[in-house]
Amino acid sequence: MSHVQILDVEKSFQGRQVLKRINLQVEKGEFVTLLGPSGCGKTTLLRIIAGLERSDGGKVFVGGKEIIEGLKKKAQNIGMVFQSYALFPNLTAYENIAFGLKINKISPPQIRQQVEEIMAILSIAGKEKNYPHQMSGGQQQRVALARALVTKPDLLLLDEPLSAVDAKVRESARSLIRDIQQKMGITTIFVTHDQLEALVMSDRIVILDSGEIMQQGKPEEIYNKPANRFVANFIGSYNFLPGSLLGLPNKNVEVCIRPEHIKLVKLDSLAQEEDASAHQLQGTLTNLYILGNTIRAEVSVQGKTLLVDRLNGFQASNFVLQEEVRLLLKKDALNTLGITS
């Protein structure tokens, strides 16, 4: 039996259904990310798993125990990190972390040992006497994480804990959380709207939209084989084009391709790539700009704008705007999402 079982969970707010019969299993030690745009129901689902919100139907089990809203949570031992950290402002970092252990009547020497241990792991040793307002956002985040981890929870729930810190801190926090999760082997459910976070950190990503699971799978599966238009649109950039444009036999099919799988060449360049492995299209280069490690070109093909990404260092200066160019679309990178409406 899976460690976390979510069975037919439903929830409505004022007549609006935010979760539609969600079924989800999480294995022991797995890092699962609930990813979706705001309002997709991911936070509500997390709160139901935490027992902070009552579901309208369905059941949640963690480690075989049913989670019931309103029940005292001493027995369920689920750690949670909130988006705003929710550190207790009147307590020091040490007291914040020790709080859960104290409530569970652990002996003081053991509390001291466990708190010091987790503070060392999260490299916040030395901040014991600091109050939350005396710490940076990144440090507060670590204290919040330590507070959730110190009780050695059966399940760790993370509600967008990275959204309140700046980009640099976020990047290091991503690998920190992932490292600790791996080291301690803690089953983790992580909520985010940031696709990059999801791709980098997760064992499995669950994509939610309007209260339904759109797709779930390993990060590379989600990225390479989106199950539908929503997922394709939500993760990274995608070019959507009708099959007729490529001269496919089924004209009604819609295909999509990642910008990095399209090659941009001069119109008069020797058609060395003119082999069976790529479709060819001709278009007008309408825009060219740098995204950092890649350069993005916008090419208009029969009124449809396609995005093309090349690694920075590619000879962009060879091209001028409004120039006619040739696009090579790798056939094995084409993805058909089904019949267009």
């Binding site: 949570k73 929710a86 207790f88 402002p89 409530i103 569970n104 307002h133 507070r147």
Partner: protein, 265 residues
């Protein structure tokens, strides 16, 4: 430049207007004789000695302290938990509380007092002419101050998330309130209490109408004293002024501390 001088002069005039009577009161309370001279002819602390030696004064003071503190403790015990429950569990009730808390402003003291005397002189709850009726009406009187100050201190913390964080760590609901929420709103509660103390120490209308001689508070005592001895009354007013001043300073200090300790929650 000119503007600056004008502002300073205006400020000085306002301060003079406000402080002159206070200075005069304090001077009169330590003057031996003060009738034909600009400043008193001599100084003495004997009125203060008399005042603090008088058992009537001490009793009046204690009565005021009892009534004020009982009222304040009662309102803390009622307002803090109800507001907490409203914020976390029944958000719709908060609006009702808001309206209730403003209602006392619409009720002049005299009307409140007469209404209460009529209501509580007969029937099952016969508390007219006892300190209880005073405490009851004082509760209504300070409700707006207490409510607003406590509500503001709830605003400085994220009550709902803190509650949930405590619950997730294994706290019960009551335990959460006592161990997490109350310590974090304590400062606001103290400043609410201080405001209320200064309001209640100066309260005369309700005390005079509701209990009068049956429960002589400090203001009623002052009222009587004024007819007997001006110096003594002035000593009392001066002492009262110093207490209120001290409490105001404490309040300001608390407010500053709270601002400094404000956290991102």
């Amino acid at each position: 430049m000119k503007k600056g001088i004008l502002a300073k002069v205006t400020l000085a005039l306002i301060f003079a207007y406000l402080f002159f009577p206070i200075v005069a009161t304090i001077l009169f309370s330590v003057a031996t004789r003060w009738s034909t001279t600009i400043l008193p002819e001599g100084y003495t602390l004997s009125y203060y000695q008399q005042l603090f030696a008088s058992s009537e004064f001490m009793h009046a003071l204690l009565r005021t302290v009892y009534a004020s503190f009982a009222t304040i403790i009662l309102s803390i015990l009622l307002i803090v938990p109800s507001l907490y429950l409203a914020i976390v569990y029944y958000p719709r009730l908060e609006k009702l509380f808001e309206i209730l808390s403003i209602l006392p402003f619409a009720m002049p003291g005299v009307i409140l007092a007469i209404g209460m005397i009529q209501m509580y002189s007969r029937g099952p709850l016969r508390i007219a002419n006892t300190p209880w009726i005073l405490i009851g009406s004082y509760f209504v009187l300070i409700l707006p101050f207490m409510y607003q100050a406590i509500k503001n201190s709830f605003r400085t913390i994220n009550v709902k998330t803190l509650t949930e964080a405590a619950l997730m760590l294994g706290c019960g609901k009551l335990e959460t309130f006592i161990k997490v929420i109350f310590p974090n709103v304590l400062r606001g509660v103290i400043s609410a209490a201080l405001i209320s103390v200064s309001v209640l120490f100066g309260e005369f209308v309700l005390a005079n109408l509701l209990v009068g001689d049956n429960y002589e508070t400090i203001q009623i005592y002052l009222y009587k004293l004024q007819k007997v001895d001006g110096h003594l009354a002035n000593a009392l007013v001066a002492a009262y002024f110093l207490v209120i001043l001290f409490m105001s300073l404490l309040l300001i200090w608390l407010a500053f501390r709270t601002r400094k300790h404000k956290t991102i929650v």
